[in-house]
């Protein structure tokens, strides 16, 4: 459905002698198969939105090529637009217009007749739990309703490929969980291919078959969440034992773990496939006479993955100054609400 090779986008910032070239996207290769749900994950300013804007024909690539739904994004832009649905960060419904009107007009711009657009729009309103809001002024909708309306607009022409840019940014937890259900439905119910950008780790984890991680304009990884997590050197195994047994426990854990750390009565280390290794470890400890107070196995988080891949945690990357899109107007400008996902 999507095939991109060597996509590059450069922006110029500053004036005169201080003018510098910023490579917001720096040679991105992407492949998305039909029916896949792919999350494009990265800190703010990593180049997610810029890449997306190239794929949906809003921005011409500085270099490289991309084929979306079988059409070239530069030479066959009109065909690409007809085949895809795009839900931007800001959405596309005007606050001072009625929800239903915006949906119908949008459908008509795709060449639908008014009757078709109305029928399809109302059906989507039902599916996305917006019943009764057809004649609601957009500014009087809640954040979650507004996002679902944006998705209705993106689906009005029944595209087989849907792009969602930061779909849940700024929503409260309940509305996010609800929206996730609807996003999952895109494939479940209509077999759509979904490509979504996010900087929430839990979102990528919950929704996507595959996660593509971008940092500083380059793809640094592309795999399932589980496979990405196994790239981290194993799961974290944390044992709590009596103080006088700490060194014995550390010795036993050290037999199967890397970088064993001792902190008070806690002994921890990273163990590959801990689910399989831990039962044997427990028998071992028991045989050695170690009394366990508690044991905890933590799967690596995507934050751990990001740290392993880039040497920085997602949070640091977000806080870091001078990221590419900081200098780019309108690209990744308005999501300041983004840290909580990274801390989970």
């Amino acid at each position: 459905m999507i095939q991109a090779r060597g996509l590059v986008q450069t922006f110029h910032t500053g004036r005169g002698k201080a003018k510098t070239e910023v490579r917001a996207v720096d040679g991105v290769d992407l492949d998305v198969e039909e029916g896949e749900v792919v999350a494009f994950l990265g800190p703010n300013g990593a180049g997610k939105t810029t890449t997306l804007r190239m794929l949906v024909t809003l921005l011409k690539p500085t270099a490289g090529t991309a084929t979306v739904a079988g059409y070239d994004v530069v030479n066959q832009a009109a065909q690409v637009r007809r085949s895809i649905g795009y839900v931007s960060q800001t959405g596309g419904a005007f606050s001072g217009a009625f929800a239903g009107d915006e949906v119908v007009d949008h459908g008509m711009l795709y060449g639908m007749s008014k009757a078709d657009a109305v029928r399809r729009g109302q059906q989507l309103f039902d599916e996305l739990q917006l019943e009764g809001l057809w004649k609601r002024m957009c500014k009087n909708m809640s954040g979650g309703q507004k996002r679902r309306l944006d998705i209705v607009m993106g689906l009005i022409h029944d595209p087989s490929l849907v792009f969602l840019d930061e779909p849940t940014t700024g929503l409260d937890p309940q509305a996010r969980a609800n929206l996730w259900e609807h996003i999952a439905d895109l494939r479940r119910r209509r077999g759509a291919t979904v490509f979504l950008t996010t900087h929430y780790l839990d979102e990528a984890d919950a929704l996507a078959d595959r996660i593509v991680i971008i940092d500083r304009g380059r793809i640094v990884a592309s795999d399932t969440a589980d496979n990405l997590k196994t790239q981290v050197n194993g799961d974290l195994v944390d044992l709590e034992v009596a103080p006088d047994q700490v060194s014995l426990a550390a010795e036993k854990l050290g037999a199967i773990a890397e970088q064993v750390e001792v902190s008070g009565s806690h002994v921890s280390g990273r163990v590959r496939r801990a689910g399989r290794a831990v039962p044997a470890l427990l028998r071992d400890l028991d045989a050695a006479g170690v009394t366990l107070e508690s044991v905890e196995v933590k799967r690596p988080t995507l934050d751990d993955v990001f740290l392993t891949l880039t040497g920085r945690s997602l949070r640091d990357a977000e806080a870091g100054p001078g990221t590419a899109e900081d200098d780019v107007p309108a690209a990744d400008a308005d999501h300041s609400a983004g840290l909580e996902g990274a801390t989970r």
Partner: protein, 254 residues
């Protein structure tokens, strides 16, 4: 072309629907010229006989000037509503549809011209009511010229809004451009009243030719060089602004 017109009319209808929901804006736009007409017009009455060129009716003199003011200044605010829509993602959502980008501009321009037409009618009818005289054909032609120059300004304003995407940039630009243009176009008083140097400068203002042309046609004097110059100027402005607007709307990442 067929789909261009269809897309334009979808955009146009959407804009009109929103305008009708808030019709106050049409009146607010024409409020200032009406004030001039009612509160400044009477001051012209005793003066108008002294104006060079033999105008004899203060309102037949003033209404054409106010039409130009409406066309130039009123239409220039079109870009502000475009920025508002852009900020809410409307423009971007429209740009990912297969609709041609020119139609996104053209549909909005039709709204601007229709709005200007309604305002011009209000102004002219009010003028007639309080004593303006003019030939019917001349008034029709005068309004037509107003719509052409107004369409040009609306296109330029939409282009400027699209290019700057900031009210903070738009407002001063419009003020800096518009104030001298209005002052040198003889909107309220004939430029020929002033000293030679001022008249000379205004001779180079195409917008003054347009004002003079509308004045002439209102007075029933249709076939003369001034009218030709003014009409040509407004058409050239429209062509330039349409070209600017279209290229801005078609530009990548606008």
């Amino acid at each position: 072309m067929n789909s261009f017109l269809r897309d334009s009319s979808i955009v146009f209808r959407r804009q009109i629907r929103m305008n009708l929901r808030n019709p106050a804006w049409v009146l607010i736009g024409v409020f200032q010229p009406i004030l001039y007409l009612l509160l400044f017009g009477p001051l012209l009455k005793p003066l108008v006989s002294q104006f060079p060129g033999g105008a004899d009716n203060a309102y037949t003199f003033l209404v054409p000037g106010l039409l130009v003011q409406l066309g130039l200044f009123g239409a220039f605010f079109a870009g502000f509503s475009l920025i508002g829509e852009w900020r809410e993602g409307v423009i971007e959502a429209e740009r990912v549809t297969p609709a041609s980008r020119g139609s996104l501009l053209f549909g909005r321009l039709m709204r601007d011209v229709l709005q200007l037409f309604v305002q011009a009618l209000i102004l002219v009818l009010l003028g007639l009511l309080i004593g303006m005289r003019g030939s019917f054909g001349g008034i029709v032609l005068g309004i037509a010229i107003t719509l052409v120059i107004g369409g040009a300004c609306a296109a330029a304003s939409n282009a400027l809004g699209m290019a700057t995407k900031s009210e903070d940039v738009m407002a001063p630009v419009i003020n800096i451009v518009m104030m001298p243009v209005l002052l040198l176009s003889g909107i309220l008083l004939p430029m020929t009243l002033g000293p030679g140097w001022l008249t000379r400068i205004s001779d180079f203002m195409p917008t003054r030719w347009i004002t003079d042309a509308i004045r002439d046609v209102f007075a029933g004097d249709i076939a003369n060089g001034t009218v030709l110059a003014g009409s040509l100027a407004s058409v050239v402005f429209l062509a330039l602004a349409a070209w600017w607007g279209t290229s801005t709307f078609q530009k990548d990442d606008a």
